[in-house]
């Protein structure tokens, strides 16, 4: 396995800051907007974004939640991602603008499942997608992100891993390649 660091240090923080500013441009004080992280890895990015937004907007109360998509996946029985993580959405999303957050956008299948899972909680006015890493040219479905940290060109055998200060000691995006 070969490791290539795509993003770390100050540049990582600048990217997070830029995503926050882009969100503020479109959502003002987040009065009618909510941020939902996709389990299991999107919740760290969602948490970080919410923390940073609250520093910038002391008056805003930003609603955040976590969404598990295990039961909505289209690869049930083809992969071993069986065991669900908790879903925590303690508010109504009916009529709200929902910002879905995941760390890596790859085939788009996770986002398809997430949109399906989201509808169990009501009919949002709008759904947007924020991702830290966009693995472009590898989509299986017509899905694109509204807010993108970095775009990378990858091949299928490679893996993009995002690690977080809170759980993995360091904020970093790494590209893993075989051999």
């Amino acid at each position: 396995m070969q490791n290539l660091t795509l993003l770390d240090g100050p540049k990582f923080q600048i990217t997070i800051q830029r995503l926050c500013h882009q969100l503020i441009e479109n959502h003002d004080l987040f009065t009618n907007s909510v941020i939902i992280g996709i389990q299991p890895r999107g919740i760290f990015l969602a948490k970080r974004i919410i923390d940073e937004l609250e520093k910038k907007l002391p008056k805003a109360k930003i609603k955040g939640g976590n969404l598990d998509i295990t039961f909505f996946r289209d690869d049930f029985r083809r992969k071993d991602n069986l065991v669900p993580s908790p879903t925590q959405i303690n508010f109504f999303i009916e009529g709200k603008k929902v910002i879905l957050v995941d760390d890596v956008l790859w085939t788009g299948r996770t986002i398809r499942a997430a949109m399906d899972a989201l509808l169990a909680f009501g009919r949002p006015a709008k759904v947007e997608l924020l991702t830290l890493v966009d693995r472009r040219y590898s989509r299986h479905l017509p899905i694109e992100a509204d807010y993108i940290g970095i775009k990378v060109d990858t091949i299928d055998s490679q893996k993009v891993v995002v690690s977080w200060k809170e759980t993995d000691k360091e904020d970093k995006v790494i590209l893993l390649s075989e051999k």
Binding site: D68, T70, F71, F72, F76, R77, D80, L82, V83, P84, S85, P86, T87, D116, L119, A120, F121, G122
Partner: protein, 312 residues
């Protein structure tokens, strides 16, 4: 993160006997999420939309059959129902023939209740579908034991170290055997209590306490699981009269209030009110009988989901 089992160690659910403690934990963790799903405005997930399940009941049932059917529908599975009383079984068709006929209509899973012990095990050796035992004679009723233990876990946070007394007609009860096996695997202490005619001799091999005095059993336990007197299975007299049984082994409010500590009361249903348990106890705050029924759907969803994931 601690290493979690990702899949069950068995292909069928024939009895608690075949499950490991890890399997049971996996079922509980999955059921936690399904319980959450059941409290949403839309109580349905699409996981099993390509799975067809037949509910084959050779014996009467209200809770178990409805609970399984609801669990299947919440998972988006297709279901068919079969009751032996209104079928060709009364014309002399054998069990294997009946099931193979159902399977040739492209059914993937069979949920079966049968009056004979071991019917599910027998069937699993002769047909290709996955079998879920919904009660076989006086042998096992695994989903009931899982939902009972799940309800205890919900009430106390964990099952390990808790003291559970199973009281009543242990001899004819499949709930008793499955409960004993399940609770022991999870690290609980188990006692059975009842008249000596209704306590089978083999029970001592299961490492459980045996008690014939109701009050002593109740003072020992944290949870009392009251079993129904199964008159339909009693071909000879095991006690002089129902009245005498309920005087000796019936749980009433007066006894409950006289205990040294507050205990939780469970019952697998159907209740014979006034026999093993009085109405004021069954409907009291200490009773979690209806929580058990609620948890039954989540547990059955978890079992069906985890089993279905093993196909191909």
């Amino acid at each position: 993160m601690a290493e979690r089992a990702q899949t069950l160690s068995t292909k069928h659910l024939l009895g608690i006997k075949d499950l490991t403690a890890k399997d049971i934990e996996l079922i509980f963790e999955t059921a936690d999420t399904f319980k959450d799903v059941l409290n949403r405005p839309i109580k349905k997930v699409p996981s099993l939309r390509d799975v067809t399940i037949a509910n084959v009941f050779f014996e009467n049932s209200t809770r178990t059959r409805l609970s399984f059917e609801l669990a299947q529908k919440r998972l988006s599975a297709d279901t068919i129902n079969f009751a032996a009383s209104s079928s060709s079984v009364s014309k002399g068709e054998t069990l294997i023939d009946t099931v193979n006929n159902i399977l040739s209509m492209k059914v993937d899973m069979i949920v079966m209740r049968h009056p004979y012990a071991g019917a599910g095990i027998f069937l699993s050796k002769h047909v290709s579908a996955q079998i879920v035992n919904a009660g076989d004679g006086a042998h096992e009723h695994p989903t009931q034991a899982l939902l009972d233990a799940f309800s205890i876990r919900e009430k106390y946070g964990e099952v390990r170290g808790k003291k559970i007394a199973i009281i009543g007609d242990v001899l004819h009860s499949r709930v008793a055997l499955s409960n004993i096996l399940c609770l022991k695997k999870l690290g609980a202490e188990v006692m059975v209590c009842g008249p000596s005619t209704l306590i089978p001799k083999f029970i001592r091999t299961l490492d459980v306490r045996v008690e014939h005095d109701l009050i002593r059993a109740l003072n020992w336990c944290d949870v009392a699981n009251m079993l129904r007197i199964q008159l339909e299975r009693q071909d000879i007299k095991y006690f002089p009269s129902l009245r005498e049984y309920s005087m000796m082994y019936g749980l009433n409010k007066q006894i409950l209030n006289s205990l040294e500590k507050e205990i939780v009361v469970m019952h697998p249903g159907p209740i014979n009110r006034g026999v093993e348990i009085t109405s004021d106890v069954a409907d009291s705050k200490q009773s979690i009988i209806l929580d058990q029924v609620e948890n039954g759907v989540a547990i059955r969803m978890a079992v069906l989901y985890l089993l279905a994931s093993q196909r191909n």
